[in-house]
């Protein structure tokens, strides 16, 4: 090559290199801490009727309307599994039960805050048809199944027993996963269970048992599922979380205003029979408000059972609940 | 009880064939074999390796069914194995999980004898084969020669009418083999048992047997029957022995070449 041609080529190469560097820097610049992300990794419980709002928001495009890119990062079989994913920082936002959320947060196993309610109540005590009795005292001396030690349902059962002045030690309380409860009840392995919908409705419809008590009677408006957010994600992306909650609120409104359509979606979401879904939903309160006092009460129970070690349930609950994202700032 | 003059064991026109497992091809192993053994005799059958001598013994023992011919013991045809035709194997076939004594007791207890009785009787046989003191050893702790002696004791314990021995010393080293041959002769002279001994070694056959029956290679046929009129104990070094042995050896070699 002649020296002249060589110099021209060298100059072109230098300019190209410079352009590449500039481009690289600008691309790297995107996603810098100052920018918020619209990508949200969401977890929820698989086939869970309480968490219908998530499915509705997705199906009706509410997340998209808010400009969010929602990635389903996990459909979990149980709350504790989902909370483990939070521990491993694989989730940004999740639909999860109050019990596992507080259990993990109260032991510093996950750093999350609740930003919206998903539903309230929606559980029931079911007794098998072979047994007599119309109230809680019918459980004396019986085998009763709960979904887990110190779960919300376990707590509700003890509240119900307390109100009926039945000593919990007069029962045999055992742990079973809800899908197994119906079968155990119909084969008289257990005499009663307490579980969340749709299991009570399924059991009753199939003739396996009858409802002894709705959870809404035991503790009116008790919390159930919540929308929880990873704390640092909330800190970095408050606007994104706000948008998410808005979409969630829209979905919850939709469910309340369009029960029939919602039931169709529920049947699709959970794989459940449509009529059972419709009936089960009548006992679930789809509501986005959060009750700090109720959460505090449950936290105190967990502390009493030795599950969490917080010094003060009140301040723990206050810290855990972040109502600011809700329209009207929550209750 | 054998009638005087009639042989204890009479093998008549025995022919055995096998169907090869993989190809199904039929192979003739024994062809029209005739063997006679009188009570108290020590007869040897000599033949090249693989000729079917083992099959012959197994047919006599009742483990193999012949295609043609029959095997008579005391004039009655045999059907299936049994203790009256004791078999001593080349690989000893001792039960490795039992002690020497327990092995010897096997044939007794398996037919219902009381354990204590069997033990006493077995001890006797253990001592007959010269293994006193080794009763509680397991086969893996014994040498080849000792194992074979246990096997012999085990067979003797069921008091067979005839002792069938299938190349019992072939796995042993030369020294042990010679001492076992001498041991066998002593045992035979002491007990008066009828013995049919099979070997591929003409030397061994001539050293041991009162008569030697030579077999050809497969399909085995009787080439010739020889008398060995030498007195016991025999001396390998003696001229009569070496002479007779060479004679028999040459004859058999020549005949099998021609066959």
């Amino acid at each position: 090559m002649t020296t002249e041609k060589y110099r021209v080529r060298a100059k072109r190469a230098a300019i190209a290199a410079l352009l590449v560097v500039v481009a690289a820097v600008s691309i790297a610049g995107c996603g810098s801490p100052a920018e918020t992300t619209r990508v949200v990794r969401v977890g929820h419980l698989a086939n869970d009727m309480h968490q219908l709002a998530y499915y509705v928001a997705r199906e009706n495009g509410y997340f998209k309307e808010e400009g969010l890119d929602v990635r389903e990062a996990g459909a979990f079989n149980a709350g504790p599994e989902e909370m483990s994913a939070f521990s491993a920082r694989q989730l940004d936002i999740g639909y999860v039960g109050t019990a596992p959320a507080l259990t993990f947060a109260g032991q510093d196993m996950a750093e999350v805050k609740a930003v919206a309610g998903v539903n309230r109540v929606g559980s029931a005590i079911v007794i098998r048809n072979g047994l007599e009795g119309g109230d809680i005292s019918a459980l004396k001396g019986r085998n009763v199944a709960v979904p887990g030690y110190s779960t919300m349902q376990d707590f509700l059962l003890r509240i119900a027993l307390g109100k009926a002045r039945v000593d919990a030690r007069d029962l045999t309380i055992m742990t079973l996963k809800p899908p197994e409860m119906a079968q155990a009840l119909s084969s008289a392995q257990i005499d009663a269970f307490i579980a969340w919908e749709p299991y009570p409705t399924m059991t009753v419809t199939q003739g396996g048992g009858r409802v002894l008590e709705q959870s809404s009677k035991i503790w009116p408006h008790h919390p159930c599922c919540l929308v929880v957010v990873d704390s640092s994600f909330l800190l970095k992306n408050p606007d994104t979380v706000q948008r998410f909650v808005r979409a969630h609120e829209k979905a919850t409104e939709f469910i309340k205003d369009n029960p029939e359509e919602a039931a169709d979606l529920a049947a699709r979401f959970t794989g459940q029979d449509r009529e059972i879904a419709r009936k089960a939903m009548t006992t679930i309160e789809y509501d986005t408000s959060m009750d700090k006092a109720a959460i505090q009460r449950y936290a105190a129970y967990l502390k009493e059972m030795g599950v969490i070690k917080v010094s003060d349930p009140a301040s723990f609950a206050a810290d855990f609940v972040e109502p600011g994202m809700l329209q009207g700032g929550g209750r | 009880m054998a009638v005087n003059g009639a042989p204890l064991l009479d093998v008549r026109s025995l022919s055995v064939s096998f169907a090869e497992e993989k190809t199904g091809k039929v192979v003739d192993v024994l062809d029209d074999i005739g063997v006679e053994v009188r009570e108290g005799e020590l007869v040897c059958i000599a033949g090249p390796s693989g000729c079917g001598k083992t099959t012959l013994l197994r047919a006599i023992a009742g483990l193999v069914k012949p295609r043609e011919g029959e095997v008579l013991l005391d004039g009655t045809p045999v059907a299936g194995p049994g203790p009256e035709r004791g078999l001593v194997f080349q690989d000893y076939a001792l039960f490795p999980w039992s002690t020497a004594l327990k092995n010897v007791m096997f044939g007794l207890t398996v037919r219902g004898m009381d354990k204590k009785e069997a033990e006493e009787a077995a001890r006797g046989y253990v001592s007959t084969v010269g293994l006193e003191g080794f009763e509680n050893m397991y086969p893996r702790e014994l040498s080849g020669g000792m194992k074979q002696r246990v096997a012999i004791a085990r067979t003797l314990a069921v008091e067979p009418r005839i002792l069938l021995m299938d190349e019992p010393f072939a796995s042993l080293d030369a020294q042990t083999r010679y001492s076992m041959q001498e041991f066998l002769i002593d045992l035979w002279r002491e007990t008066g048992k009828t013995i049919l001994f099979v070997t591929h070694s003409v030397d061994e056959a001539v050293f041991l047997g009162e008569r030697v029956i030579g077999l050809s290679k497969r399909p085995a046929r009787v080439i010739e029957r020889f008398d060995v009129p030498l007195a016991y104990p025999r001396d390998r070094g003696s001229m009569e022995f070496t002479g007779l042995r060479s004679e028999i050896l040459d004859y058999l070699r020549k005949e099998s070449e021609e066959l």
């Binding site: 483990s84 055992m174 079973l176 155990a184 392995q189 | 999980w97 096997f106 893996r140």
Partner: protein, 251 residues
């Protein structure tokens, strides 16, 4: 070689683990060895759920495993002898065995609960399934490995079929069968967690405890439980090894 070398790798692992934990090199929330030891203490004195102490969990699990294992052995050993000895039995039994063997015990869980209800027998049933096939197959293989001449010798000594099975096949198959027992015990113990998922009426069980620790986010207790499960599995294996040495001293 000094016997202390056997401890070299476990000790090294624990030391390394503690070092990594103290320097924060382990993934978040992973307990350190000291936490695990504290967890063992808590499980033994306080229990999880409170009142359900470690010895109770241990005995409940041992009971399930030993029951499942014992029944598996009692069925598989004689069946193995029979199938190994009789060609006809083999032809009859083999297709069923080959069809069932690849199914993981856990798949039987819902049926187990249906047939046996919640409790000792449903979990023991799953463990039985885990133990059964290794014991059966190694017994069959053991029988087949018995030298033909041994059977011939027995027959020439006057033994009939029954004696041959009990006095030749059985002891001859023993080495292989005992290996099968060891493997079966190992699989049975490992099936424990799955088995105890059928629901444990009493609330006791080492496998069941795993699920409780997970629900309550007590990973220190989870690891403590894992240590116990591993140790007990190891000891069970040892026990069979000792029995093996005594049964097979003729080898």
């Amino acid at each position: 070689m000094s016997r202390w070398w056997k401890l070299a790798s476990p000790v090294a692992v624990i030391v390394l683990w503690q070092v990594l934990s103290s320097t924060g090199a382990l993934p978040e929330h992973t307990p350190s060895p000291t936490k695990v030891v504290a967890g063992l203490w808590e499980l033994t004195t306080k229990g999880l759920p409170p009142g359900y102490r470690l010895p109770g969990h241990l005995f409940a699990s041992l009971e399930r495993v030993l029951l499942g294992f014992a029944i598996a052995a009692l069925v598989a050993l004689p069946l193995g002898l029979l199938v190994g000895y009789s060609k006809r039995m083999e032809v009859i039994v083999d297709p069923l065995v080959e069809a069932l063997r690849p199914v993981p015990p856990l798949a039987w869980l819902p049926l187990a609960v249906l047939w046996f209800g919640i409790g000792l027998f449903s979990s023991s049933f799953l463990i039985f399934l885990g133990c059964f096939f290794p014991i059966l197959l190694s017994t069959i293989s053991g029988v087949k490995s018995v030298e033909g001449t041994l059977v011939d010798a027995a027959r020439t000594l006057g033994a009939k079929s029954r004696s041959i099975v009990w006095r030749v096949m059985l002891p001859g198959a023993m080495p292989s069968a005992v290996t099968g027992l060891r493997i079966g015990m190992g699989i049975g113990w490992m099936t424990l967690v799955a088995a105890e998922m059928t629901g444990v009426k009493s609330g006791y069980g080492l496998g069941y405890l795993v699920l409780t620790t997970r629900d309550l986010a007590r990973y220190d207790l989870l690891l403590a439980d894992i240590v116990v499960i591993g140790l007990v599995g190891f000891l069970l294996d040892r026990v069979i090894k000792v029995a093996e040495r005594r049964l097979l001293k003729w080898r």
